[in-house]
Amino acid sequence: MALLRYIYITILLSLLTLSQAGENKYQLGKGLQVGSLPLYIGGYFSFEYEHSYGKNRSLTLDDVAVMLYGDYNNFSYMIELEAEDLYNEVYGDEESEEVQDHFHIERFYVDYEFNDRYMLRVGKYNSPIGFWNLNPINVLRDTSSSPTIVEQLFPVFSSGIDLRYTQEKEMSTTIHFIAQENKDIETLINDDIYNNFDVNRHYGAGVTLQNDAMSYQFSAGYFRTLMDDEYYYLLAAFKYQDSSFKLQGEIGTQFSEDESTIPYIAYLQYAKYFQEKHEAIVRVESYHNKIEDRSDNFVVLGYTYRPLYPIALKSEYQWHSYKQENKLLLSISVLF
């Protein structure tokens, strides 16, 4: 019933928006303006099928999200509510059907741009660390899965402020200062924190250098979890992209006051675009996580077909150094 309710709400919101859209013609993947207000509505969803080696198969309605955003003078805002793992069914296990019954706050922030160089963001936002974490949703990613560095090294979301400095010259330079000195905004409405680390403190800084094809990113930060564990992280990333291929990689390390907790974690990915709608991806990843006492080296081979850019049909296979981690992933994702 909860699943039906959310689908109903999503359709209702979409129809309501369409009816208010006036002369704006709707295009999939670009959202819609509500009347002539500084308010745009859009969203995304994805279905994922996973077949792990020697385990059950599962089908998940992975993300269903609604985004509301707009801008007025120097202000702009973003509200994104997402239901993750809204519906999950494991085949061969009749008791496993699971339905989540509430939305999370994925992003909720207000930006103020002082001038062409300084911008202040207040609220909950994607931590501007590395490249992958800035396009984290399935439909915009190259593969259904995300590299492990995104899940293990730093908090994916921050609830606080982000001060950004930008200088546009031959090479564009962007510097971010992240500061969080409170719990996740999510705690205002429910107890389930929607983040990979439950943090109440996060400070970080990063610099991105970019010209047309080449980008570099360096980040460093510190965060403290609700259990009072404190960690520091360092990350370096690069990306080269032209119309026919993309090569990108990220490498990082994490440590506490006493020891190195993740001595290294990295990925290197090559994506080849061909015939406009097709993309083949090879990614190699490696990490050593001392907290979980785990190391892994693995290869991800993926293939993505986009009949239209906002619709992605993806397949990938992962070969891990632990055979039981090998898996096949298939997904359908849509941006609307």
């Binding site: 993947g29 670009k30 959202g31 745009y40 859009g42 995304y44 985004m67 955003y69 707009g70 801008d71 003078n73 120097n74 702009s76 805002y77 973003m78 741009e113 002082f114 001038n115 062409d116 800035l134 396009n135 949703i137 915009l140 930008t166 546009e168 031959e170 564009s172 119309s243 406009e276 850019y309 906002p310 941006l335």
Partner: protein, 135 residues
Amino acid sequence: MMRVYFLIMLVVVSLSAEKFVLITNKDNPIKSLTRDEIKSIYLKKRRFWDETKLTALNLPPQSSLRQNFEKDILGMSAKELENYWMRQHYKGQRPPYRLNSPKSVLMFVKKLKGAIGYIPQSLLDKEVRVIYKSI
């Protein structure tokens, strides 16, 4: 023979391509722009010039002037641009504001300090400032 014919056609088409000028309001602090700066403004990577909020203006996609502008300045195909704006949709960014005709662009630029738009050179008048001319 075919090669010569093709080259002649290419020259004819190039010569007949409509030239554009990029204009802004007389009160806008921008005096002139490089291609990289225009690209940055039209991709909404740069939304302010000092303290002035910029409003980039576009013509409809089928406009030959827009096609010339995108080819000359942005260096991106229509498909690449469409994909770019879908990624920006997730980030809460919208494409440049679209007007139906160069005359509307001219009128809009005269009224709004931060407006920037491209029009045919033949439509130019003295109430706006030219900040870039296509070659």
